[in-house]
Structures are given as structure tokens and as C-alpha cells.
Symmetry: C2
Subunit: 282 residues, 2 copies
């Protein structure tokens, strides 16, 4: 019987702290504010926007929406980001990506000021994750994994951590963040040979494989802490992670569920970054 | 009897190619040019400057020296970097660091245009290493490790690589570069528990521990390729690496020596970056 690392528990404690910090800012005359920049009407983006807006509003964070049509030009979006940069009432910015094909993603990302980069997309934020400094902000998903570890008091120093996945938004930043937290980190990916023999050695296993239920019992060993970053819909239309939960749970000592795990925490992390950015301004 | 991964062999082949590329550029009316910016008179900097200048001059790369006094101000150095940025005849820049204490390192580093960042110090270059893209240039030392692997035809895909050290200039970028080259990479450091049990599992071991002869026989196993990044002077005043060469060499299948290994290759890598930057401009 593994301990269930419930995202709801993390969020309950985190949100209480964040609401207090937002209130303290408001009393100083600064209402923390998130700009949400969306190009087009992709359903995933709209769903995440709704979740982020609800979360932020409940915490006392204002939202400014910037909506551009699907066929907007590079210059239109650069103008929007310039507006976000120059508006002193805005502390953080969420820009939905991937962008439609007409955009130069690199130029767009780096037009945003790192100090407003609440979702960790600029080179300045990447450099901060790389170096383990507080420049910019890390991407919200790996930061949510760290929040879960912190909340449940899971020590990382001297531990063996294995990250499955080497993406720019999850695997690589999660590995660097764990290295900065003194874990001995191994990154596995599609070219890794005999991955289960590596993951079974982990004390902490972060799974961002990107395929439903793909990580089965041969990947686990007793005593492990497993954080499942995957969000998939299985053949029965049910939400599931990258980990085969039914196989993992009897073996490991702790595991984050899907739904109700990492995904639950990301919008609170986004809110945390906005509040931190506002606090730095005061 | 391990194969000796001689830096001289790598450099001989690399320099021949680079001289041809520099000549081709010169025939097109573009002489590749490196700016060397030095603050103060630190002997290590002066020694490296001499080596880099000799190497570049032999390859047909021009050098422009910018020398500032030890007590130069932040603005003096920013002005110098602006001059480097604006001078179209300069393709790459080497800036010696660490800088004296009066400087804001972050602001100085990022004042340089990433396309002239031949030594990989800007956030743009870090982001390129992070993402495995060709934005900016990687730091010369981990890039020299990759040159050695490439020269001797050492396959990285699917191999287990272990990096000892998590510094910003060697360990972390080397790990990310090996991940981009499809190795399964583990980063060890001072907080790693039972490091020898981890390094013995490596197919490729990159050692940047920063202490003379510290990595002894218990760290190695047969069949390994070892790249020693360390440059130290032992108690007898002799150059040595971080690896105890006498203990490692009988066990492993290939090893880079110190001196004559990675350190021999770094100035050629710097020259390569300058030539690449000039080629991108043509």
C-alpha cells in the first residue's frame, strides 16, 4: 500500500499561503496580476486558461486577457508582448504554445521580460534553471513536482533520482532542479537501453514519458517515490498517467495519482510565480 | 593497456580543417576575427590568452585585444562589449572570468550578443546547450570533450555516461550535450553517496571533479572510456588530471591524458566557434 501523494493536499496548503501573500500585497496597494496571452481557440488552451483563471481569481490575483486571432502576425504578437512588458500593473505572463506556424517561437519567447516569465519560457528562465539561480521562473510542471516533494517532506540530498523523458518543459528542467537539490540524477529517454534496470535503482522516479500507462511493474522497486507527470486519456476515455498505477502502487512506497497529482498543482505554481514577481516589485 | 585519447591527434585533424575554412573565408574577403577581452593581469588569463592567440594566428584568425585595468568600472566593460558587438569585423569574443568583484557578472555576460559568444557565457548560449539547438555556442571545455569522442569514433547513443561534477562551465553542459547525443546520463557530485558504484556502471566517464588525482581505481571498470577534464599541479609540481592515471589506465579501455588531453583541444574549439560565427555571417 503506497502513500498517495495527493496534489489536492499540496494545493490546499499552498493556496492558503498564497492567498495570504496576495492579500498582504493588496494591502500595500499592489494587486498581483497575470496576463494570459492566447493565439486562436485551441480547446486545450481554453481549458487550461479556465483553470488558471479560476485559481488566480480565488487567490486574489487579477487576470488580463490578450486574445489574438489564429492568423495574427509575428508583429501583432510582439506588440502584445511589448504591451505586457510595459504595463507595470502586470507581474507575470502565461503565453500558450506551441504557436501557429507563422510565428518565430524563439523570437516571441525572448521578447518577454524574464522577470514577468511566470511559466519559464525565456532563455533567462532556462539559464536560471540551468544554474540553479532565481533568475526568471522555472516551467510550472517540473516546479509542481518539486512542490509535491517539498510538501511531503521527501529528502532529495544524496538520493538517486531518475527522470524518464528529456523534454525542454519537463524532463531536462526537472533533472537540473533535482541536481541543484543535491540528488544524483539520471535522465532516461527513448534511446536508453534496458530502462527498467536503471529506474529500479531510483529512490525518486519522475515519469514524463508521454504515453498512457506505459511504465509498468518491471520499472519499480520497493521503497521508491514515484511522481507521474503524464496526463493521457486511455482507450476507455478515462484520464490516466504514464505510470500503470495498478501495477506500481503495490510495489512502491509513495506515488502521485493521475488525475489529482502533478496536474492539480501546476496552476497554483503559476499563481505562486505571479505573487513572487509582484513581491519582488514591492 | 588503454588506448590513449591524445588531444594532439584531435587537434592535428581539427586544425587542418579549420585552416582550410579560415582560408576559404579570407578568399571571400572575410577574415575571421576573435576579440579577447581581459580585465587585469591574472597569470592564468595571460597564459590562456597566449595559447589562444598562437592557435588562432596559425589558423588565419585575426585577434583584437581589449585590455582593461583591474579597477575598471562596470560601465567601462559594458562600453567595451558594446564596441565588440558593433564591430562587424569581429566574429567571436573571449571574455576572461571570474571578473573582479566590482562587476555584475550576469549583466556583463548577457551584454554580449549570443552570435559572438564563442565561449558560451551568455544565457542565449546556455539555452542552446539546454535545448540542444545551435543557438550561441557551448562552453569550450565540454565542447572539447565532445570533439575527442567524435574524433575517436566513440558512439554515445544508448550508452551509459556518467559526469563527475555539476559546474556551470563543465559538468552540467557536458551532461546536457551527452543527453542530446542520446546517451543515458547521470551527474555525480560531492553529495553523491557511494560514487564509485555509479561510475563503475558507466560506458563513458567524464571527470570534472576539480581535485588532483582524486578519482582512483575503485571508480573504474573494464571497457570504459574516460575523459579527464581536470588540470591540476600535484605536490611535485607536475601537471596532472583529476583521474589517478596510473590506477585507471590498466583497467579502462581508453583514457585522455593530462597534459595532452582535453586542455589541448579547447583553444581549437574556440577557433572553431569563431570560424563558424564568421561562416554564418557570409
Amino acid at each position: 500500500m503506497a502513500k498517495i501523494l495527493s496534489g489536492k493536499e499540496v494545493v490546499a496548503v499552498l493556496n492558503e499561503q498564497l492567498a495570504q501573500r496576495a492579500e498582504a500585497l493588496t494591502q500595500k496597494g499592489v494587486t498581483p496580476c497575470l496576463a494570459i496571452v492566447r493565439v486562436g481557440e485551441r480547446p486545450d488552451d481554453i481549458a487550461y486558461e479556465r483553470g488558471a483563471t479560476n485559481r488566480c481569481t480565488k487567490l486574489g490575483i487579477a487576470i488580463k486577457n490578450f486574445l489574438l486571432p489564429e492568423d495574427a502576425s509575428q508583429q501583432d504578437l510582439l506588440d502584445t508582448i511589448a504591451e505586457v512588458n510595459e504595463d507595470d500593473s502586470i507581474h507575470g505572463c502565461l503565453l500558450f504554445r506551441p504557436l501557429p506556424k507563422q510565428f518565430d517561437d524563439e523570437a516571441i519567447r525572448n521578447a518577454l521580460r524574464p522577470e514577468k516569465d511566470a511559466d519559464g519560457i525565456t532563455n533567462g528562465s532556462l539559464a536560471g534553471v540551468f544554474a540553479g539561480t532565481d533568475q526568471g521562473y522555472p516551467p510550472c510542471t517540473p516546479a509542481a513536482c518539486m512542490e509535491i516533494l517539498d510538501h511531503f517532506g521527501i529528502e532529495t540530498t544524496g538520493k538517486k533520482a531518475v527522470v524518464i523523458g528529456r523534454s525542454l518543459v519537463v524532463g531536462r528542467p526537472a533533472a537540473l532542479m533535482l541536481t541543484s537539490r543535491n540528488a544524483t540524477v539520471t535522465v532516461c529517454h527513448t534511446k536508453t537501453i534496458d530502462m527498467p534496470s536503471i529506474t529500479r535503482e531510483a529512490d525518486i522516479l519522475i515519469v514524463a514519458a508521454g504515453r498512457a500507462n506505459i511504465i509498468g511493474k518491471e520499472y519499480f522497486s520497493p521503497g521508491q517515490v514515484v511522481i507521474d507527470v503524464g496526463i493521457n486519456i486511455d482507450e476507455n476515455g478515462v484520464f490516466c498517467g504514464d505510470v500503470n498505477f495498478a501495477e506500481a502502487e503495490p510495489i512502491v512506497s509513495a506515488i502521485s495519482p493521475v488525475p489529482g497529482g502533478v496536474g492539480t498543482v501546476t496552476t497554483s505554481v503559476l499563481a505562486k510565480h505571479v505573487i513572487e514577481a509582484a513581491e519582488k516589485r514591492v
